[in-house]
Amino acid sequence: MAKKQADLLQGTLDLQILKTLALGEQHGWGIAQRIQQTSEGVLNINQGSLYPALYRLEEQGWISSSWDVSDNNRQAKYYKLTRTGQKQLAEEVANWERLSGAIELVLQSS
């Protein structure tokens, strides 16, 4: 059951991370908080699963990371969107809108 949920989230998780980072650079915990807040707790992801996604996105060159001092004066790893990441975000948003639009149409017609 948990696995199914993770699969479902996988596709949207990248989009959520990119969208969150589009607002400015943020560390992992901050991203997790932000996603939980903005989705009003609906998409309550397993926080740990955020990190493999971050590493994958960095590997793909869509986000980059650097160490910086956090708001409570501790070292934290901050992620930010790269130029290719911005392009990717625009693309994924367009894809998502097309998909959700289609699903909406299907749901309305029935």
Binding site: Q47, P52, R56, E59
Partner: protein, 518 residues
């Protein structure tokens, strides 16, 4: 793109640092989450537990992260290299055998290539050595051997040539020399006055011949070879000016040659053409068929061998038409010109190329042999490999972790490691010592192998000059191959430790290696 490559490189080189960063990053997350939970009014223990719950298994997340960032092909290559190094370290016998086998193959190749380069590929060690040529005259009767040239022929070529700057002649005779402790039979080279100058040989003492020495009625003069000077005059520095009797007339010593091997053969003394009774006799000089002399020339600067060949052919054709009686048609006389370098190396060439080919084969066999040994080792480990590739320890960890989670979610299982890892840690210190020792041993081995190859190359290089000179001025024209074979035999003795002839030894290597390869 560059940044990505850099990151991959970093991932490879700074593994430990990345691990540490990953740990810190997740620790930071858990701390922040715990603080957040405390702020919501949980107790510390509760807050920690909740943070851990919402995060999931740290090790599992880490493992997934590693999967995401691992640069596979490079990493695999690096692992292979490390594995190879480890195997070599673990099996010094095998390593030694492999290194020695390859060192022999490479060493033999280097040595033979040095000789081939020195003799076949390098220019002659003379000023403008590439411009020296050899003239040869053949007939049906003479076959593959040069007939030699007569006085009249030499004069014709010398006077009519358009392409040769100089033409010089040489023949060798035995005369009796009086005036020393007792009469001596000496080998005498009879040459044109320009002979030594054209060949680029400078006298050690006194002077060589001048054009005046070759004029009719000039005082007879002698130039001594270095060996004869040492042997019969014990290197007397005042030998110039001494007079000896030869052919019933006084001969004055005017100079001594340096210790270079002589070409085309070894003589005790040299005299100009006019001093040789045979060469200067009226009958001999007027006889076009008195072919006895070797002829050499120097191309005009910028001249091509092909032009010289055409030029000399024209002269030879004219000669044959004008003196048809001296050149019977059925004897098919013809004249050729060869560069001295080619002429000297012609016979050696085949031998050298065969040697080079043999050495190449030896190297190939050495490689095949090492590959065979490696293969044999792999075969022995086949069972272990099968087990290893079937079960990946990392998978086991994941399975174990999920199994533990089934029982108790709160159990900290960050410390699951393979037995291998645990063992590795326990062995870390003694292993370091062993590694260092082995590293030095390997280094010593490599240096030794390089040293052997170097010494062999040096041995060949040191003799290269000598080979070149000897071939250029050598005693016999076919001495080059024999000499090369001798050098090669010396090298082979050095390489293999024993053996009399290189051909013999090369065969033995091949057989021995093949035998082992079976």
């Amino acid at each position: 793109m560059l940044k990505r490559a850099m990151r991959k490189l970093r991932a490879l080189l700074f593994r430990a640092r990345l691990e540490c960063e990953m740990e810190r990053e997740m620790q930071f997350h858990l701390e922040r989450e715990t603080e957040e939970n405390l702020r919501r009014g949980m107790s510390l223990a509760e807050a920690r537990r909740a943070a851990r719950m919402s995060f999931g298994g740290v090790e599992g997340v880490k493992e997934e992260c590693r999967d995401m960032q691992r640069p596979r092909p490079l990493e695999t290559l690096w692992q292979d290299v490390r594995f190879g190094a480890r195997m070599l370290r673990k099996n010094p016998g095998f390593s030694l055998l492999a290194v020695v086998t390859l060192a022999l193959g490479i060493g033999a190749n280097t040595a033979i290539f040095s000789v081939v380069y020195g003799v076949l590929l390098r220019p002659l060690p003379y000023q403008d050595g590439h411009q020296l040529v050899v003239l040869q005259q053949y007939s049906a009767q003479s076959g593959a051997n040069s007939l030699g040239f007569s006085v009249k022929e030499i004069r014709d070529y010398r006077e009519q040539t358009q392409t040769l700057a100089e033409v010089t002649e040489h023949h060798s005779m035995t005369f009796t020399l009086f005036g020393g402790a007792e009469p001596e039979l000496i080998q005498t080279g009879v040459v044109s006055a320009n002979y030594f100058e054209m060949m680029g040989v400078k006298p050690l003492l006194g002077r060589t011949f001048l054009p005046e020495d070759e004029t009719h009625g000039a005082d007879a003069v002698l130039v001594l070879s270095y060996d004869y000077w040492q042997r019969s005059h014990r290197g007397d520095p005042h030998v110039t000016g001494r007079r000896f009797r030869m052919n019933d007339r006084p001969h004055t010593v005017i100079g001594v040659l340096p210790p270079v091997p002589q070409y085309p053969n070894e003589n005790d003394v040299y005299m100009p053409t006019v001093a040789c009774p045979t060469r200067s006799s009226e009958a001999f000089q007027s006889n076009r068929n008195g072919r006895m002399m070797s002829v050499f020339g120097r191309l005009k600067s910028g001249g091509e061998l092909a032009q010289a060949q055409a030029d000399l052919s024209v002269i030879a054709d004219n000669m044959r038409q004008q003196h048809a009686d001296a050149y019977p048609a059925q004897q098919r006389f013809h004249t050729s010109v060869t560069s001295l370098h080619d002429e000297l190396t012609q016979r050696a060439q085949k031998t050298f190329l065969i040697l080079l080919g043999t050495a190449g084969l030896v190297l190939l066999i050495a490689c095949a042999n090492v590959a065979n040994l490696a293969l044999a080792r792999v075969m022995r480990r086949e069972h272990e490999m099968a087990v290893r590739t079937q079960i990946e320890p990392q998978h086991l960890i994941r399975q174990l972790r999920s199994a533990v989670y089934e029982f108790d979610l709160d159990t900290a299982i960050d410390q699951v490691r393979t037995l291998e890892d645990t063992g590795r840690e326990a062995m870390a210190s003694p292993r370091l010592t062993a590694t260092l020792l082995n590293l030095f041993a390997l280094l010593a081995l490599v240096i030794t192998a390089a040293g052997i190859a170097g010494v062999m190359a040096l041995a060949a290089a040191q003799r290269r000059h000598e080979i070149g000179v000897r071939l250029a001025l050598g005693a016999r024209r076919d001495a080059g191959a024999g000499h090369a074979a001798r050098i090669e035999a010396g090298l082979a003795r050095f390489v293999i430790g024993r053996g009399r002839r290189v051909g013999h030894d090369a065969r033995r290597i091949v057989v021995a290696v093949c035998g082992r390869a079976d």
